[in-house]
């Protein structure tokens, strides 16, 4: 409780200093709007629905792409860990493409798919996929061989061993890979939305972009704020349960 109060106090102080800087008129209000006018923007944008709509568009792209990336990446990671052939082909590809900043997929996606939802989905999937493959592969390789041996003595075989021993044993690696994939996907999606207008729906990135076009700094800062909040929420909702589970069972890290 005491720690929460300190946090709260810190942010109130931050807002207050910001407000004082505006009052001191060092910079033009065009460059540094008052926190209250940012709040005004957020309120109107929330009331007329633009903010909610943009958030939904962005979240839909992100969650769909992320889910596909996970669903494809996990089994592929298991394959690269299991078969030498997959390791030498797909594994090398994943290792290479993972070093490519996922924003770099945007031009290619636009040429391939046009200014459509598919392009956005593609960018998010590319951001997620390679991290998940590599993390899963890495996780499987770090499973102590004795786990599989112990399971075999108890009658566990091929598929059962993979699903009930190898996969859960690699969970700490997989979860950190999922987090990394999420971060890559989120960043690349924002870049893509700011970079180019997608005709099938206006996301948060577009709001940010139009804020700049209209010189509406209150909108720019307001949307940035929303993006931060969504990022934090996603972290809490998507990863906290896993991390709590890892903490409880493995006794590692802090939940």
């Amino acid at each position: 409780m005491k720690r929460f109060l300190w946090s709260l106090l810190f942010f109130i102080a931050l807002l207050f200093i910001w407000h004082l800087l505006v009052l001191a008129k060092i910079w033009s209000v065009v460059l540094l709007p008052d926190p209250l006018s940012v709040w005004e923007y957020l309120k109107t944008a929330a009331e007329d629905g633009t903010l909610l709509e943009a958030s939904l568009v962005t979240m839909r792209r992100l969650l769909m792409g992320y889910a596909i990336g996970l669903a494809v990446g996990l089994p592929l990671g298991l394959l690269t860990a299991r078969f030498k052939f997959c390791e030498d082909t797909l594994g090398v590809l994943a290792l290479g493409l993972q070093t490519l900043p996922s924003v770099c997929w945007v031009p290619l996606a636009l040429l391939w798919f046009g200014q459509t939802e598919a392009a956005m989905l593609f960018v998010v999937i590319m951001g997620t996929l390679w991290s998940v493959i590599i993390a899963t592969d890495n996780g499987v390789r770090n499973v102590p061989p004795i786990f599989a041996r112990a399971a075999r003595t108890m009658g566990s075989k091929r598929l059962h061993t993979w699903l009930h021993v190898i996969l859960p044993a690699s969970l700490p690696f997989i979860v950190s890979g999922m987090k990394q994939g999420w971060a890559f996907a989120w960043r690349s999606l924002m870049a893509a939305e700011i970079y180019v207008t997608i005709l099938t729906g206006f996301g948060l990135g577009h709001l940010l972009h139009y804020g700049r076009e209209l010189n509406a700094m209150d909108q720019v800062i307001g949307v940035m704020f929303v993006i931060v909040v969504i990022g934090l929420l996603a972290d809490k909702i998507l990863f906290s349960p896993w991390e709590r589970f890892l903490h409880r069972r493995w006794g590692t890290g802090r939940a």
Partner: protein, 268 residues
């Protein structure tokens, strides 16, 4: 299968190891002769300890009996049937507990049980509770593995191995990493469980005293190539105390023999 039937003692099995040989390639192109035509029997319900220095092939032999590895030649029979793969009739305990961190204690004991066909949902809950009580961990069924001490972890591993009601228990230095006091408690518990649950136990250790304390027979192993050199019968009443004087005289005798083989090997 009703729960009473599931918890009944199954008849322990007889093991026959017949001329088992196994070689491993070493890094530099040579080979290690881990087992050289090893033969011995374990009677129904017997408690046999294999003792010898590290690297003499004891664990390899245990893995072969468990069905985790195949011998180059020779065979192992369990009740007359050749062993070709792991089976629920032979459960194994390892030096590191090899417990799965993603399961709690109850889930751990259930792991092998869930793979046993024909077990009812009710039994799935009662059987683990029975074995956890047997190893003295009845109150810890919802604990996580990382919260347990080394001795408790090995107790969970023992419960996990007992739960599918195997006829043979294969134990690969299960107490080697524990402190002396914890070990002593486990010696007592293991003897008690062996008597009440009627298992055939093959116990591998490098600790001569431990072997003398637990086994009805102690087989002395020495390496390069791995062979059984001598056999000792331990005629002491149970439960045996590791600190008793009578036991000390047995372990001195075994130790003297063991040193003889190790010295002979160094001289060669």
């Amino acid at each position: 299968m009703p729960i009473e039937e599931e918890l009944q003692n199954v008849p322990p099995a007889k093991l026959a190891v017949e001329k088992v040989s196994k070689r491993f390639p070493t890094g530099r192109g040579g080979e290690v002769h881990a087992l050289d035509e090893v033969s011995f029997n374990v009677n129904v319900g017997g408690f046999v300890c294999l003792v010898g220095p590290s690297g003499c092939g004891k664990s390899t032999l245990l893995n072969i009996i468990a069905g985790l590895e195949k011998p180059d030649s020779g065979q192992v029979l369990a009740d007359g049937k050749p062993i070709t793969q792991p089976g629920r009739d032979r459960m194994m305990m390892f030096q590191e507990s090899a417990l799965f961190p993603w399961l709690d204690v109850m889930g751990t004991v259930l792991f092998g049980l869930k793979l046993k066909p024909g077990l009812k949902e009710k039994a799935r809950r009662e059987v683990p509770a029975f074995y956890l009580n047997l190893v003295g961990l009845g109150k810890f069924s919802r604990s996580n593995i990382h919260q347990l001490s080394g001795g408790m972890k090995q107790r969970v591993a023992l419960a996990r191995a007992l739960a599918p009601n195997p006829r043979v228990l294969l134990m690969d230095e299960p107490f080697a990493a524990l402190d002396a006091l914890t070990r002593e408690q486990l010696y007592g518990d293991l003897q008690r469980i062996w008597e009440t649950r009627k298992k055939t136990i093959l116990f591998v250790t490098h600790n001569v005293r431990e072997a003398a304390c637990l086994g009805n027979r102690v087989l002395l192993f020495s390496p390069y190539p791995g062979r059984i050199r001598e056999e000792f019968k331990i005629d002491l009443e149970r439960p045996r105390d590791i600190n008793s004087v009578k036991l000390a005289s047995y372990s001195t005798e075994i130790m003297r023999a063991l040193k003889g083989y190790v010295a002979a090997e160094v001289a060669e």
